[in-house]
């Protein structure tokens, strides 16, 4: 696995999942994510894992959560329409704090849209798709190599923080083929979920814990407890008491917000002294990198902030990197879903949006134009 080879983004994502210890996949076919399911169907049984094609995406994520409750790292993969169907169970996983990874290979929408065309239209759905308030983690790879690495990381974050983690891959990256050198298995950092060490009668699956993440006992390990989507007390039993609902809400937000610096990953290129900063993610960040190369060759003071973590939004990073910028360009294959966040932080006066929602990748030229025009 250490020799360089040609791989597709979706394939690298699936390989990353297996390297991270994923041993269950439940899903439903949908373009452009299906390569991931096909890879898992082929590879999982070899690793003692299980693949199942469920009757729809709702069932796909339900099965994934069920498997995770059994103590198995689990994942599903889908695209926009299926991602919409999964929202209720994403809320369930957030409420019940069950680790799972949801891959959304974004295609042009809304509705059936253009299934084979790329987009980044699900950024806000990843954040706010389910009802109610809850924290979420979402990451977005820009290369095939990163599809592998960020999938491993998605599993680690999910197990570490007992939360659903969403991998937002745009169709360009999902179907991109490029040369990658995957790390040997012993160099991949894989986290396992915390299991309780106290006697079963003391176990509190939703109790206070160091880092605000209580241990999660797999079903069938001698810890008999209750899991529910209702608001619950520390033992997991439904509650309507304000003094029990409130600490839960506080804790689940704290476990993500309090660890933002450990969760957020980004890459900054040439941002020192730059007057123009491009903030980008996914395939568009590749166009942005090219645009910046061209602009810097012309001695323009431009830098790139490439976000790998989209949620929780890297507010601090964006604010610091853009502190002295006179212009912040946010190119996206949507009408400005992340730009809203950037504007919130740096002020909309200096933000310039570059958007496409026609199923075409934003070109370096379009980003260059945004740098040049007054």
């Amino acid at each position: 696995m250490t020799t360089p080879k040609m791989m597709q983004g979706n394939e690298a994502c699936a390989a990353g999942a297996i390297a991270a210890g994923c041993r269950f996949f439940g899903g439903y076919p949908i373009t452009p994510s299906t390569d991931i399911a096909e890879y898992m169907a082929r590879e999982l049984p070899k690793h003692g894992g299980v693949f199942i094609q469920m009757e729809d995406e709702i069932a796909g994520l339900a099965a994934v959560i069920g498997a995770s409750v059994g103590g198995v790292k689990a994942m599903t993969a889908t695209s926009g329409p299926g991602f919409s169907l999964m929202q209720e169970n994403i809320g369930y996983a957030a409420m019940a704090e069950i680790p799972c990874v949801i891959v959304d290979v974004m295609r042009l929408g809304p509705s059936t849209g253009r299934p084979t065309s790329p987009s980044q239209g699900d950024v806000m759905q990843a954040r706010w798709g389910t009802h109610g308030d809850h924290p979420i983690i979402a990451v977005a790879p820009s290369s095939v190599d990163e599809c592998f690495g960020l999938t491993v990381r998605a599993f680690n974050l999910s197990e570490r923080y007992r939360t659903p983690v969403i991998l937002l891959i745009d169709e360009v990256v999902g179907h991109l083929r490029e040369k990658v050198t995957l790390p040997p298995p012993d160099q991949i950092r894989v986290l396992e979920r915390l299991r309780p060490t106290e006697p079963p009668e003391w176990y509190k699956p939703y109790g206070s814990a160091p880092g605000d993440v209580p241990a999660l006992a797999p079903f069938g390990s001698g810890y008999r407890y209750h899991i529910t989507g209702l608001h619950h007390d520390e033992a997991g039993f439904p509650t309507e008491r304000v003094d029990e609902v409130r600490p839960w809400t506080r804790r689940v937000f704290r476990k993500i917000k309090g660890n933002v610096q450990h969760i957020v990953r980004y890459e900054a290129e040439g941002v020192e002294g730059a007057r123009t900063i491009v903030v980008a993610y996914g395939a568009v960040a590749r166009s942005a990198r090219e645009a910046i190369k061209i602009a810097r060759a012309k001695r323009r003071k431009v830098g790139l902030l490439r976000l790998q973590t989209l949620w929780p939004f890297p507010t601090r990073v964006v604010s610091e990197v853009c502190r002295n910028a006179q212009r912040v360009i946010v190119p996206e294959m949507n009408l400005g879903q992340m730009a809203i966040e950037v504007e919130r932080i740096v002020g909309d006066r200096i933000v310039r949006r570059v958007n496409r929602i026609d199923g075409e990748l934003i070109t370096p030229q379009e980003i260059l134009e945004a740098m040049e025009t007054k």
Binding site: G70, G220, S221, R224, H226
Partner: protein, 290 residues
């Protein structure tokens, strides 16, 4: 009775969540009792038993039971259970659902779980109505009966749960009622002992909604109506279709233990792929550690 009460007590989270959310006189508790006695008679380790549900009055049952319990989203109990069973074929999984949960919002999962013949015992408490939300029409509400969303009488024909389950591929299909609690217990146990997918329909009543809207009386009257309307399959087979109309036919409608259970079939795939030992090792690691 005294003895039975005692053995059931050990399986309840008695110090935690009682009294229950159910209306006094509701039939759901009888079904819970039957499940407890079935598990007890099989001498299963409660650590290996999972009770999983969706949403509704019946789906509140797991919280009272001292097993591994999971109250999921509306209609999805069997989809969650399918993932858990595949990840952990070593566990004995019981899914409890109401008629609306299992057959309306969860209808697709229901037929597909049956089609796969996965080793899950599903118990459908059929009270012909949505109780928790206040008496709306359900996929098993009989024709012409009233519901809060069928104020002029129901025109949607009810699903026939047994026939549907058999056609979809369930290995064991039986029906009894909350009046016949011993028979119910027997069927639950038979379902749990059948390797594949089993469906036990427990005919119940909801006196506070269906009973009130249709002027059928309280819990006692409705229990009596169920008793009077019920008839064994053997007796029903001798009747004409007309004579059978409106009767609750109790009995075993299908029992086939010869079909391979789904997780066994998947294990064969793992064996051929060379991963079966890894799967076994993973499950061993997961079992009781403390």
């Amino acid at each position: 009775m005294g003895n039975e009460k005692h053995s059931a007590y050990d399986y309840l989270r008695h110090s935690k969540k009682f009294p229950s959310v159910w209306c006094s006189g509701c039939g759901i508790g009888v079904v819970m009792g039957a499940i407890i006695r079935a598990v007890d008679s099989m001498a299963l380790d409660p650590n290996d038993v999972v009770v999983i549900s969706g949403i509704g009055c019946t789906s509140r049952m797991p919280v009272y039971l001292d097993f591994n319990t999971m109250h999921t989203t509306h209609g999805r109990a069997l989809a969650f259970a399918t993932g858990l069973k595949l990840a952990r074929p070593d566990l004995q999984i019981i899914a409890v659902m109401g008629d609306g949960d299992a057959l309306a919002i969860g209808g697709n999962h229901f037929i597909h779980a049956a089609r796969r013949n996965i080793g899950i015992t599903s118990i459908v408490v059929n009270n012909s109505i949505y109780g928790m939300t206040g008496g709306q029409v359900s996929p098993t509400t009989p024709m012409n009966m009233r519901a809060s969303t069928a104020p002029y009488g129901n025109i949607d024909p009810p699903f026939r749960i047994a026939e549907l389950s058999i056609a979809a591929g369930a290995a064991f299909v039986a029906r009894s009622t909350v009046y016949h609690s011993q028979e119910l217990e027997k069927y639950v146990r038979m379902g749990m002992e059948t390797p594949g997918f089993s469906v036990i329909e427990a005919v119940s009543y909801c006196h506070t909604t269906f009973g009130r809207l249709n002027k059928l009386g309280g819990a006692v009257e409705m229990m009596r109506q169920i008793k009077d309307a019920s008839i064994t399959k053997q007796a029903a087979d001798k009747l004409s279709a007309e004579e059978r109309a409106g009767r609750i036919v109790r009995g075993i409608f299908h029992h086939d233990s010869s079909r391979k259970e789904y997780t066994e079939l998947y294990r064969a795939i793992q064996e051929n792929a060379g991963g079966a030992e890894l799967a076994d090792g993973r499950i061993q690691k997961m079992e009781m550690t403390f």
